[in-house]
């Protein structure tokens, strides 16, 4: 997030797109509700009538996967109606001319033809956001899990740059990170393109710095992403170490994924439970879990916080870092003689410019939001206050592209996937906490009541849902949350493995899977 969570109480216009915040980030949503209670206007763009949409002043029920078209239409209106912040554009951005010429071609009527959203609503939303004193954008995987995820994010950046809604309190562009430490995994350099602290692996100076620290020089070449690596299994990739991820359930195209992992010569999985992924491993190592492990995590607002052990782990379970460093030692690798989380975190701080002002003791009270470039620095709650990372903000010329797969006579219904309030991910944790089943005991396919009738289904009855990659049986719930022709399911329940169906395409830049769009066929089971 460019801005802190506390800022969520401060905007006068809020634009939420592709985020089911009340269910996926409930406590953040309570802060937005406070802004709304104080009179902020809320615009929600989401195909479904999610709880946030119920609260909205304007709901833009766009067709799944058409975000870029909606945002082009909005940019058109902002430019057309003279709502561009000329001063900001002149001082802080570049390539505005090309961009403004480009958006002139995409009036809201065009956006309506793609998104299915009334042009008048698109216009009104654009005018509100464009005229906002403090306009803030919030988004989640509904924006990124598309073949055009990068385009979508850049389209949002364009709106921000046009209107100068950045670098000030109560504004910004704010991705809400899903998993508790997914931000941290990136911070720590668990990425094929970056060393810790988002230092590019293509930069010889970084290469030299890490060669000195690790005693081995690393390739000046970006590694394959996880998605590419899974495609290479059994071929270039022969051995894998997977930490705490239930890949076969969370990833798209489950059959492909299982096949990939089975074709490895060697698979080591570290986890709390014997997950579907761990069951495929040659070696499974038991990890310590939440409240059993000392360590550090970063939240979605870049706040670096301490995790503390409160109880002992079961049996022989050990911290993930211990297992990994001991494997390294057994391989005869030097420099892995770590004895504590503190030692490791302090090494990270010494190598990462965004953590340079931090160490284990300084983060005791959760005060710092990175970057913290040197000791004594107070941290950076708001990014881009005076300058963007690379100087000026760049406008990007984005064109709308159809999803990888679109509906057809064989697969005439849009399936979109996501999370629900009471379950988290593949339920390895929530599913094993008592009481949670009372709220959510099984998967339900959310279908519009009119479709339920038209497709010969029954509320509470069973349906078979198929895509080109497979089919699953799932119980039907008739609900107005789903618009006509679009259904929703989560990937939380292993007995309804929705990810057997997904996986039509990937973003060409990030390789993020198009989990939000999948044409399916639905029949009574």
């Amino acid at each position: 997030m460019s801005n802190p969570l506390a800022d969520m109480e401060k905007p006068d216009v809020i634009f939420c797109i592709g985020t089911n915040m009340t269910e996926c980030h409930p406590v953040a949503a309570t802060r937005l509700k406070k802004a709304i209670a104080k009179g902020a206007k809320l615009i929600v763009a989401d195909p479904r009538r999610i709880p946030l949409a119920e609260m909205a002043d304007i709901h833009l029920p766009l067709r799944v996967g058409s975000d870029a078209a909606l945002l082009l239409g909005m940019a058109h209106v902002i430019a057309r109606d003279g709502l561009v912040d000329e001063g900001f554009v002149a001082e802080r951005t570049t390539e505005a001319t090309e961009f403004l010429e480009h958006v002139a071609e995409f009036p809201p009527e065009w956006a309506e033809s793609i998104t299915g959203v009334d042009a008048k609503l698109i216009e009104q939303a654009a005018q509100w956001y464009g005229a906002a004193e403090r306009g803030a954008i919030y988004y989640t995987l509904g924006i990124t899990e598309h073949i055009c995820g990068v385009d979508n994010v850049q389209s949002l950046c364009n709106l921000v740059l046009m209107t100068g809604n950045i670098g000030r309190e109560g504004t910004g562009i704010n991705p809400m990170r899903g998993q508790n430490n997914i931000q941290g995994a990136g911070d720590c350099g668990a990425l094929p393109n970056n060393y810790p602290g988002f230092q590019s692996v293509l930069e010889p100076a970084h290469q030299a710095k890490f060669a000195a620290a690790y005693g081995r020089e690393c390739d000046l070449e970006i590694g394959p992403t996880k998605v590419q690596a899974l495609d290479m299994c059994g071929d270039r990739v022969r051995a894998m170490l997977i930490d705490g991820e239930n890949t076969v359930v969370t990833d798209p195209d489950r059959r492909h994924c299982e096949h990939a992992l089975r074709s490895l010569d060697h698979l080591v999985v570290i986890d709390l439970f014997l997950t579907e992924t761990a069951k495929l491993a040659d070696v499974v190592l038991p990890a310590t879990g939440w409240a059993e492990t000392d360590g550090v995590c970063s939240n979605t607002e870049r706040r670096v916080q301490r995790l503390r052990a409160a109880v002992s782990p079961p049996g022989e379970a050990r911290p993930d870092w211990w297992a990994i460093s001991r494997i390294a030692q057994r391989m005869g690798l030097k420099g892995f003689e770590f004895e504590s989380a503190k030692e490791i975190f302090n090494e990270l701080c010494s190598l990462s410019p965004i953590y340079a002002g931090l160490d284990w003791d300084r983060i005791e009270n959760s005060e710092y939001q990175w970057p913290v470039p040197e000791p004594g620095h107070m941290g950076t709650p708001i990014l881009h206050e005076d300058e963007f990372l690379n100087g000026r903000g760049i406008f990007h010329v984005i064109r709308y592209r159809d999803p990888a797969e679109t509906i057809s006579s064989d697969f005439p219904v849009w399936l979109t996937t996501g999370r629900r309030l009471a379950s988290y991910h593949t339920r390895t944790q929530t599913g094993r906490s008592s009481g949670i089943d009372y709220l959510l005991s099984e998967e339900r396919l959310e279908v519009n009541p009119v479709d339920v009738t038209n497709w010969g289904l029954e509320d509470g009855g069973w349906a078979t849902m198929s895509s080109p990659r497979g089919s699953v049986k799932v119980k039907v719930e008739a609900t107005n949350r789903s618009p006509l022709g679009t259904v929703f399911a989560s990937f939380s329940f292993n007995d309804v493995p929705v990810n057997f169906l997904t996986g039509g395409g990937y973003d060409p830049v990030t390789h993020t899977a198009e989990l939000k769009v999948c044409p399916v066929r639905i029949e009574p089971a």
């Binding site: 170490l241 040659d282 050990r318 057994r330």
Partner: protein
Amino acid sequence: MDKFDFEITLDGERVPARRGETIYEVSERHQKDIPTLCYDPRLEALGACRLCVVELEGARNPVASCTTRAEPGMNITTRSSRLEMHRGVLLEMVASENRDLDVDPLSGYASGEMATLLDRYGARSGRFAGAKSGTSRPDDDNPFILRDYENCISCYRCVRVCAEQEGDYAISIMNRGFETQITTEFEGLLKGSACTFCGQCIQTCPTGALADIKALANKDVPGETKKTRTICTYCGVGCSVDVMTREDKIVGVLPAMDGPANLGALCVKGQFAFDFVSHPDRLKAPLVRGEDGELHETDWDTALDRAAGGFVKANQEHGRESVYGIASGRAPHEAAYMMQRFIRGGFGTNQIDNCSRA
């Protein structure tokens, strides 16, 4: 924030105050320890219990300090025999309506507030025969929130936290006076209401009338309750929690009122989904695949040798690009950092990613 606007007199002492502050807020800063029941610093003050009254020079009757704003020149007395008597009687009356005065501290964050005040004011005489305060809802079979309204004192903190803090408006008030009853829309179960089971009502209730069923299930675990500050494990908001333990067992979770991301708020996952860590399914020993194709328990020594051996072999036979690492988005920094150090320092490649792409 540090600027003061004027002064008032507090128990004979001149103290600075800001415009808009209540007498209670100024007094708190000066450690006056005024008793309160219907007050929660995170909520709009209501002024319902009248326990926080103070004497204001020029006013005939004491005023509620939680709702009265400080004004220049005010002369305030927070403690006098008249006030203490009033507070004591008030507490005796409030307490007379409740079935239990003492509840297990695992009931909730503020559950001991009333009992503590009863002791401070020696207000356990039982002089008044009170009417029954409310009707409990043993029929609500939800596994999280106990609704024991026979211990309710109608402070409305639960109703206000739900509306103001959560924005959910799931609980409401029925009737007035002695008949007051906290309820939901249509008087039904919480599950059928707008309730999201965030547990905030439990944590603000000053009597334990609303209580944490999951924590109370551990009330017989012996030992003292220890609290450890950590971060919720479920989403990127990163709410601070205090994990309550007894004898190496997690008995419950409390929201951290000073947590920077949540300021005391939590959701159903952070509040109630804590017991997975002690689930019997947890892996307790390393497993290795045997000749028979099955996974078998073993010791770390064997497992680490086997794990290391496979990577050495792949490296020797297929080159360093044959090894790939996937870090977790849920494990702490140290895990992700070590994973990339292992791949980069061990093989000199960038064959590392995390699970953010799915």
